[in-house]
């Protein structure tokens, strides 16, 4: 049925997200929420064991093993590929392997060339394509929206639901546009942009909305930059974030293992070309940003909305209008061990983490390597480089990036979620301060008592060299 997306609902102009939504509705109307068909279900070891257990108890099968894929990432070690020291981590991974075998689900295990962070693996295999619905028991599933898909994180009960039915009941969302006009200045990355957006909206500003990022600065981003932006949609509470597919998207997908081929490719591209917001379509809300005003952006607090320009100072909670926000900011500063008014560039760090589903792709590694090449990681600073997948690692080695990092004194690791959430041994110790390219600066996120500043890959690399928060221009 190669209907073009805009034929779906007569002539009324539609947003991109509405088109994708409507193309996946299995059942609508009545009191129940829409039932959406799910094109791709990604699994990992942490949020799936109880879901498989539910299937087993009810005597159900996985409905579409051919739309389901698993990888090991959250718990996996990054210092070796085979020894999982923690018995509970090992148990969880063994459970995933046993479940995949029992239910016939494809899995990429430790040591496999396609193992890695689930949101890096999907696009890399060409399984993430435009106009899809993608879910995973992980809130950063929004990453896949970069291809013009509706992609969102779900809980374990929903994982079970998708395994059993390949569908998900979903209340109709609202639609928002974030329009970024103009070009990002030199040295300002996708990460800086999304951190800035979250600082404007706060952690709940996107609630209930599927957000379309658009405008010149978004069009100019590489696919990997677009993934970074969409990845952090959840950090401002959005249901999902997506970007209209274009020639860049098609070129990225083409030739990957699961990309359509031959006539299928032509049919797919024809369909994908219709995946854009129609002229005159109405969003429930719009935010407009002037890209030219942006500069490198970092966080100072304990949620991703607590950010400031790298050139700025730690804010003073007393300057905030709202009482609850004031208390929250004050307790964040206390946790972070920071004084209001301190220039961000004077904040020294102990650890630099380069990796995660936000910034663990090859371009991120290249950017950081460019900054650090021929320089040394500052004394007393531990820089950890964790590629997002085994393939990214392999590619980096081909390009000699591993040597750049190792010669600078950084720790070159195997792929996984690692210190982004510290489920494996890669954790901060109490009081340690990190500049991290990951997505969450929550209290204790990277290890009990650890203090996190979210930064871009370029800032991470410069910070590693300077020993305090810095951009490449400061070196």
């Amino acid at each position: 049925m190669s209907r073009t997306p805009h034929e779906a609902e007569g002539a009324r102009p539609q947003t991109l997200a509405e088109k994708v939504w409507n193309a996946h509705v299995v059942r609508t109307g009545g009191q129940q929420p829409d039932l959406l068909y799910i094109d791709l279900h990604l699994l990992h070891e942490v949020t799936s064991p109880q879901a498989f257990d539910g299937l087993r108890q009810a005597g159900r099968k996985v409905r579409r093993t051919d739309l389901t894929i698993a990888t090991e990432d959250h718990n996996t070690p990054t210092d070796n590929l085979f020894t999982i020291a923690d018995p509970t981590s090992r148990k969880q991974i063994e459970t995933l392997r046993a479940n995949c075998e029992e239910f016939g689900v494809r899995i990429h295990s430790l040591g496999d060339e396609n193992q890695g962070v689930v949101h890096v693996v999907g696009p890399q295999l060409g399984l993430t394509q435009p106009g899809m619905t993608v879910v995973c028991g992980d809130s950063h599933t929004s990453t896949h929206g970069a291809f013009g898909s509706i992609a969102f994180g779900i809980g374990t009960s929903e994982v079970e639901h998708v395994l059993a039915t390949q569908t998900l009941p979903q209340a109709k969302p609202k639609y928002m546009a974030v329009t970024v006009n103009g070009s990002l200045p030199e040295g300002v990355s996708a990460k800086d942009l999304i951190l800035k957006i979250i600082s404007i909206t706060g952690t709940g500003g996107g609630k209930g909305h599927i957000v379309e990022y658009r405008g010149q600065a978004i069009e100019e981003l590489s696919m990997e930059g677009r993934m970074t932006v969409c990845n952090m949609s959840i950090e401002w509470g959005a249901k999902a974030g997506l970007i209209a597919p274009d020639e860049k998207t098609f070129a990225y997908v083409q030739g990957r293992p699961h990309a359509p081929q031959g006539e299928d490719w032509d049919a797919a591209v024809e369909y994908w070309q219709g995946l854009k917001t129609d002229e005159g379509a109405v969003f429930d809300k719009e935010i407009v940003i002037d890209a030219a005003t942006l500069s490198p952006f970092v966080t100072w607090g304990t949620n991703p909305g607590q950010g400031v320009e790298l050139s700025g100072n730690v804010p003073d909670p007393a300057d905030l209008d709202d009482a609850v926000a004031r208390t929250t900011a004050a307790s964040a500063l206390e946790y972070m061990g920071l004084e209001a008014g301190t220039p961000m560039r004077e904040i020294g760090v102990d650890v630099v983490f380069l990796g995660s589903c936000t910034n663990g792709r090859i371009e991120d590694l290249r950017t950081a390597a460019d900054v650090i090449k021929g320089r040394k990681v500052a004394e007393g600073v531990n820089m950890m480089v964790v590629p997002g997948s085994a393939k990214v690692r392999e590619q980096a080695i081909e390009e000699g990036l591993d040597k750049v990092f190792i010669e600078a004194g950084a720790d070159w690791r195997f792929a996984g979620c690692s210190m982004c959430l510290g489920m494996n041994p890669d954790q901060l110790t109490p009081g340690q301060r990190a500049a991290s390219t990951s997505n969450r600066n929550f209290e204790g996120r990277q290890g009990k008592g650890g203090r996190t500043h979210l930064v871009s890959p370029a800032v991470a690399a410069a910070t590693a060299v300077a020993g305090r928060l810095a951009g490449p221009a400061d070196l």
Partner: protein, 199 residues
């Protein structure tokens, strides 16, 4: 799923906003492969502080958690809901919740109710002044009641029915199995498949 109609209990007043799911249950506790046994993990890091709310005798028997806005943002971990339930909470009240957390809560019989900031402030005050005060969360009437105060709340009609009946989502959806099959027979052939693994 447990049915929920109405619940009366004491309130734990958590005066914090942006309580993300990493705070509700830190990642190191997510390694279990069962749905139960998470009570010790609830707010694990905060509970190490003896002054923390839940370490105070007067709030140990609380069954209704009242928190600031953006409760349950962040990670999708359903373990956050399991931990709250295992600890003994039956309901959480806050001005606004993270979407995924809210969805998870309602699939596990933990009622999450959105009340305006002013109502939350009143409930905090009430529980701080009188920790023994009983509060009723009534899903049938869509009301929260405390003494002579009553706050109405909004609740999606379908979700309310499902929660009051304790219905299993999968079974509900499978009633429409024919529609799923019809949709599948119409999907474009070029849509990607994970199996077999491509070279």
């Amino acid at each position: 799923m447990d049915k929920f109609t109405t619940h009366t209990g004491r309130v734990a007043p958590l005066r914090r906003s942006n309580v993300d799911t990493d705070q509700i249950i830190p990642a190191v506790y997510l390694k279990r492969v069962t749905k139960t046994g998470f009570e010790d993990a609830l707010f694990a890091e905060w509970r190490e502080d003896e002054k923390f709310l839940l370490n105070q005798d007067e709030y140990k028997s609380a069954t209704i958690l009242v928190a600031g806005t953006e409760f349950g943002t962040g990670s999708s971990r359903e373990h956050a809901v399991w931990a709250l339930k295992d600890y003994g909470f039956k309901a959480v009240i806050a001005p606004r919740f993270g979407d995924i957390f809210r969805g998870n809560s309602l699939k596990n019989g933990l009622l999450t109710v959105e009340l305006p900031e002013a109502a939350v402030e009143e409930l905090w005050h009430l529980a701080e002044v009188n920790p023994d005060a009983e509060v009723t969360v009534d899903l049938e009437a869509c009301e929260v009641r405390a003494g002579d105060r009553t706050w109405a709340f909004e609740f999606d009609e379908f979700l309310r029915w499902r929660m009051m009946e304790g219905l299993d989502d999968v079974a509900l959806t499978l009633r429409d199995e024919d529609k799923i099959a019809a949709f599948e027979s119409n999907r474009d052939a070029w849509r990607p498949r994970t199996l077999p693994a491509a070279a």
